[in-house]
């Protein structure tokens, strides 16, 4: 029997070259031996994406994308389908952690200067992925058709209307009708379950391809050519697994003990297009943007400022060309990033309590 299985395996391997691919990507793929915890964020993000795809497919089995049925179908998943509550909580909570890990991944890249030559394309695809993940989160927000869904989408889509001349037309194109309606739900549903996930997958592939072409960067201050190398498997894979299990422990803790983090009271009420809830607030990762919009007197200026930050981030490798990567040897840049981070946290806290 064993001989038969081995024979089949050799037949398949000879034609598909699976073992050669496995060797090239795992056991013979050498990485710097001094990679630290921050280098495992990419694997965590892939794990988040996989969890979202699997739980998303399961939710799709019972979800109905129709305004009069969407909320009831989500309620049915949560209360009547065995373990439906678990699948939904996992999906909602992982969405939050996905954004958090993405923030950490980008911050570590900024501080360690890993966006610099020759990794410019990796950084730029990373910024695009960041935008795509936020859009994915926002489009998923509408689907339960709760009060929170409806009004968060109303505010977010209305923000586009501040663009001079074409803003109002763009809002109607995004929504499909002048107000958030069934047509908006249809569009957001199509984006959330197919267009954006496939686009994310494509950009992940490009991101990883360039990571393989340029190689993983060594931590700043170390000369990659002189650092000892170890095989990706088992060394880096075991580091990745350590982070993954810490992540899964945190996810489990949130799912079982702090579900209200992903489901505030307005998320438990069906959408009412004639009543804006008293304390409507966006998700934590949009709180800073929300507060900034409140503070800047001109709405277009508020959105333009946020766009400018995004554009600067996207073109960062071309603005900061110095080869120096050590944070303490780049005091101006490190100070700017730290101040930006503190301002972001302060705005988010302010937005939460305002």
């Amino acid at each position: 029997m064993k001989g038969l299985i081995l024979g089949v395996w050799r037949w398949v391997d000879e034609r598909t070259q699976i073992s050669r691919v496995v060797r090239a990507t795992l056991t013979e793929y050498m990485v710097p031996a001094n990679l630290n915890f921050w280098y495992t964020m990419g694997s965590l993000l892939i794990a988040c994406f996989v969890i979202q795809i699997v739980t998303g497919i399961l939710l799709l089995i019972y979800y109905v994308p129709e305004t009069s049925k969407a909320f009831e179908s989500v309620k049915f998943i949560t209360s009547a389908v065995p373990f439906g509550w678990l699948i939904r909580r996992l999906h909602a909570m992982t969405a939050n952690l996905f954004v958090l890990v993405l923030f950490l991944h980008m911050l570590s890249t900024l501080y360690m200067g890993s966006y610099k030559k020759p990794r410019e394309i990796q950084w730029m695809t990373g910024v695009i992925l960041f935008g795509l993940v936020l859009t994915e989160a926002l489009s998923g927000y509408l689907l339960p058709w709760s009060q929170l869904s409806y009004w968060a989408t109303t505010v977010a889509t209305n923000a586009i209307g501040s663009i001079p001349k074409i803003g109002d037309m763009l809002v109607v194109w995004v929504r499909g009708t002048p107000k958030v309606s069934q047509f908006t739900l249809g569009r957001f549903f199509a984006m959330h379950v197919s267009l954006i996930p496939f686009t994310i997958l494509m950009f992940i592939a490009i991101h990883l391809l360039f990571m393989r072409l340029t190689g993983i960067s060594a931590p700043p201050g170390t000369d990659k050519s002189k650092v000892a190398k170890v095989p990706f498997f088992p060394h880096m894979v075991s580091e990745d697994l350590t982070s993954l299990f810490i992540f899964l422990a945190a996810l489990t803790l949130l799912v079982f003990f702090f579900p209200q983090f992903a489901f505030p009271p307005d998320a438990l009420e069906p959408a009412n297009p004639l009543q804006t809830p008293a304390h409507i607030k966006p998700e934590w990762y949009f709180l800073a943007n929300y507060q900034a919009l409140k503070l800047v007197p001109n709405e277009f200026l508020g959105i333009l400022l946020q766009l400018v930050v995004g554009v600067i981030l996207f073109f960062l490798p071309f603005l900061d060309r110095s080869p120096e990567r050590r944070p303490l040897k780049r005091p101006v840049f490190t100070t700017l990033v730290t101040l930006g981070l503190l301002a972001y946290i302060a705005l988010a806290v302010w937005g939460h309590y305002s």
């Binding site: 009004w151 109303t154 505010v155 889509t157 209305n158 923000a159 209307g161 109607v172 194109w173 929504r175 499909g176 009708t177 002048p178 107000k179 309606s181 047509f183 569009r187 009412n272 297009p273 004639l274 009543q275 804006t276 809830p277 008293a278 304390h279 409507i280 929300y290 919009l293 409140k294 800047v296 007197p297 001109n298 709405e299 305002s354």
Partner: protein, 148 residues
């Protein structure tokens, strides 16, 4: 002079472009926004039933769907009926009427409007659009475009 290979490459490019364009038109038409049914001149509740005017004898304000499905707020202020679009001119949340302060308040970004719909505080850039409102013969709230 164009070579035969160059000519064929251009030809393939032109046909590929035309094929793409022929798909573009139907896709744009498919995604084009749908117009909301207009022409309703009375205030309707979320179920599509007309709102009775005498509700304003019990409540200080009432919100419903008005002209072209626009969320509309009708208030009774100093004995006079006033109707405004309930949609905040900042980011589209619905305003609430605060009779004690004689103000409209937007819960999303704390925008405030006076009893004439004029933006007086917070981020809203424009006043609330105002409608003419009257009580119809069958005790409904009739609406017309333009100021009262």
């Amino acid at each position: 002079m164009t070579t035969r290979r160059g000519f064929l490459q251009r030809l393939v490019g032109v046909f590929a472009g035309l094929t793409g364009l022929s798909f573009l038109g139907p896709v744009v038409a498919y995604l084009a926004p749908k117009k909301e049914k207009g022409g309703r001149k009375i205030l309707l509740d979320p179920n599509g039933s007309p709102v009775k005017a005498d509700i304003l004898n019990k409540e200080p304000s009432v919100v419903g769907f008005g002209i072209n499905g626009e969320p509309t707020i009708v208030i009774k202020y100093e004995g006079e009926l006033r109707a405004f679009s309930a949609v905040c001119t900042h980011l589209g949340c619905l305003v609430k009427w605060k009779p004690a302060k004689a103000e409209f308040f937007c819960p999303c970004h704390a925008g405030r409007f006076d009893a004439n719909g004029v933006n007086i505080a917070g981020p809203p850039p424009e006043p609330l659009p105002r409608y003419r409102v009257y009580v119809t013969g069958d005790n409904l709230l009739g609406l017309e475009e333009g100021k009262a």
